[in-house]
């Protein structure tokens, strides 16, 4: 049981059926404090579904998900929201909230939004959207909106290490960002992890995952094909098996992690 408590998130034999179709099966997964795990796989591999199962948005057909030592279903929603923030792929905001109001919503589970203006502005500084604070979200570009939402989930779990469990689950948080902001967002994620928070990030870019994540989980057709450190997982054979491409892996001169290139 001790091992259970030490892991922030632990999933065992999670399977999910939608009607007769089995979308996800046999997911065994753990996420520990201070760890940043990237979930990779081709389109339709079930990355978002796995994330939804692990965060409780979907209920597994079978299997269990335990968060902070307690099955997900036993958490009071508000208590869970204070410890864990989830950033789904974005839908549009129908009303003209200002960017800052959106970030402030991140504090609603704590009920202290009024007292957290400093934290809100700092988070917006981190994700480089401070200058957008008073703008209506309807006028923001996709990338700007994504940075605003990233700031929102950051303030939800707090910017600094606290006594309690902290966990961030991000579904393609950098899909609309430019090169510099992609790295910026992942550096923030890394920083949060180094404070002891647990991070699960769905990504598409193998090289960014290799550079920033501690572990990579490769998903294909709803199953985990491989999981391990970037250098264990990112090899020609596995990439070929999962993505159906011929890849060459070299060493990234910047950080020493594997770097993947495709044979033309």
């Amino acid at each position: 049981m001790k091992e259970f408590a030490e892991m922030i998130l632990r999933a065992a034999k999670v399977t999910y059926h939608a009607g007769p179709r089995c979308l996800v099966s046999g997911i065994d997964f753990t996420l520990g404090p201070g760890e940043m795990v990237a979930l990779l796989g081709p389109n339709g591999a079930g990355k978002s579904t796995v994330l939804k199962l692990l965060c409780g948005e979907l209920r597994p057909s079978s299997g269990t998900v335990v968060f902070g030592g307690k099955p997900l279903g036993q958490w009071a929603p508000r208590e869970l929201a204070r410890r864990r923030a989830v950033l789904p792929q974005q839908a549009m905001v129908p009303f003209e909230f200002s960017a800052m109001e959106i970030v402030m919503l991140g504090r609603s589970p704590h009920g202290d939004a009024g007292k957290c203006v400093g934290m809100v502005l700092e988070a917006m500084e981190w994700t480089e959207c401070r200058h957008l604070a008073q703008q209506s979200v309807g006028t923001l570009s996709g990338g700007e909106l994504q940075r605003v939402h990233l700031a929102r989930v950051l303030v939800q779990i707090g910017l600094r290490a606290s006594g309690s469990v902290r966990c961030l689950m991000l579904d393609e948080p950098i899909s609309n960002l430019d090169l510099s902001h992609q790295h910026g967002a992942l550096r923030i994620a890394r920083e949060i992890a180094s404070q002891g928070a647990a991070l699960l990030v769905v990504l598409h870019d193998l090289n960014l995952a290799a550079q920033y994540a501690d572990r990579i989980v490769l998903l294909k057709q709803g199953r985990i094909v491989a999981a391990g450190t970037p250098s264990e997982v990112l090899c020609t054979e596995l990439i070929g098996e999962v993505f159906g491409v011929r890849a060459r892996v070299i060493k990234n001169p910047v950080c020493g992690s594997p770097a993947v290139f495709l044979e033309s």
């Binding site: 923030a85 789904p88 839908a91 003209e96 909230f97 109001e101």
Partner: protein, 353 residues
């Protein structure tokens, strides 16, 4: 990059408290005006005397206490309830075009009410239960609730609301309601028919203290609990799943919202008929002034809804005096074009989906 439109959010936020105070003051003044004007013009001083029981003229006191005061109170109550219902439905369906009338909730309430008014009288003329006024809001509530649940079931699948579906369900329910109401006018006596068609157009003319007493728990109940939903509705704007991740119980919130809205709208429709577009126009105007934050939007809608309906009713009973214009005609005449304007705006923002 920095066009004035992009910076509007900040200017909207300033002076929210002042805005609400202004609305409250306007509502108070307008209520006074509404008490003064009518078939008999009564000066404000005499109104105050009548209200404080110091009136010299007993007839005048009767006019004020038993005709004008209930009517103004009913107008404020109904305006507030319909506007708040609109604000709640717009937040719930994540769409600024939702309105109890347009999405069929009012028609559902009308169905329930008509059922009691005429069919009850025709089929079971001697049934004492059906002739009881207290049954009206209950049956209207049931009708409104059924429609609201259907709309929610059909439109809000997988955390994503289709506006087109919401409005189409509204069309379907509205035509069904028209059919049933048509059938009951066919069965009704001449007097019933006249009463029904006036009721369909909406009127505060029947206001009395008994009606206020029965409608108040429903309307005031909706108005009183609506602010409790404000934080959840702010989170709903991000999406249903996101609201869940922010710690709100989505299913429970949705169900409660629909029940209280149906109760409020049901009571309004039961006693004042179909007064359309108030729930659409009022929250929109409030948002233009103080932004979309529901913690301010809800009280703003309460006040502005009271103001607009009192104003509309005052116009309705003075413009063709001594006759009265059904108030629903007025709100539709102003609300219809307003809705078209919103549709055009929404299309530009690609809200259809």
């Amino acid at each position: 990059m920095e066009s004035p439109g992009r910076m509007r959010a900040s200017s909207m936020k300033r002076g929210r408290g002042l805005f609400l105070l202004g609305l409250a003051a306007a509502l108070a003044c307008l209520s006074m005006v509404a008490l003064c004007v009518g078939a008999v013009k009564i000066p404000p001083r005499e109104i105050l005397e009548a209200l404080t029981g110091r009136a010299l003229d007993a007839k005048l006191e009767t006019v004020v206490w038993h005709l004008r005061v209930p009517r103004v109170l009913l107008g404020i109550m109904v305006g507030a309830a319909l506007s708040v219902a609109g604000a709640l439905m717009q937040g719930l369906f994540r769409n600024p075009l939702a309105d109890p009338g347009l999405i069929g909730i009012s028609s559902g309430a009308a169905l329930g009410a008509v059922f009691v008014i005429t069919l009850g009288g025709v089929v079971l003329p001697e049934a004492p239960l059906l002739s009881d006024m207290r049954l009206l809001p209950v049956s209207a509530f049931v009708g409104a609730l059924i429609v609201a649940l259907i709309v929610q079931r059909l439109a809000a699948t997988s955390g994503y609301t289709s506006v087109a579906t919401v409005l189409l369900v509204g069309i379907a329910v509205n035509s069904l309601a028209t059919a049933v109401i048509g059938l009951s006018t066919f069965l009704a006596t001449d007097t019933q028919m006249r009463a029904l068609s006036f009721w369909m157009l909406g009127s505060l003319g029947a206001a009395d203290w008994k009606m206020i007493g029965i409608a108040a728990p429903f309307c005031l109940g909706l108005t009183a609990v609506a602010p409790l939903f404000a934080p959840a509705l702010n989170a709903f704007a991000l999406g249903e799943a996101e609201a869940g991740h922010l710690g709100y119980s989505i299913e429970r919130t949705k169900k409660l919202l629909i029940v209280v809205t149906a109760a409020g709208v049901g009571a309004c429709v039961a006693f004042t008929g179909l007064i359309g577009f108030v729930g659409l126009v009022v929250p929109h105007l409030v948002r233009l002034w103080i932004g979309p934050d529901h913690r301010w939007l809800v009280p703003g809608s309460v006040l502005l809804g009271g103001i607009l309906l009192t104003l509309a009713d005052t116009i309705a009973r003075t413009v063709v005096a001594p006759a009265e214009l059904p108030i629903g005609i007025l709100t539709a005449a102003f609300g219809g074009p307003f809705f078209l304007l919103l549709l055009l705006r929404a299309r530009r923002r690609a809200l259809w989906g």
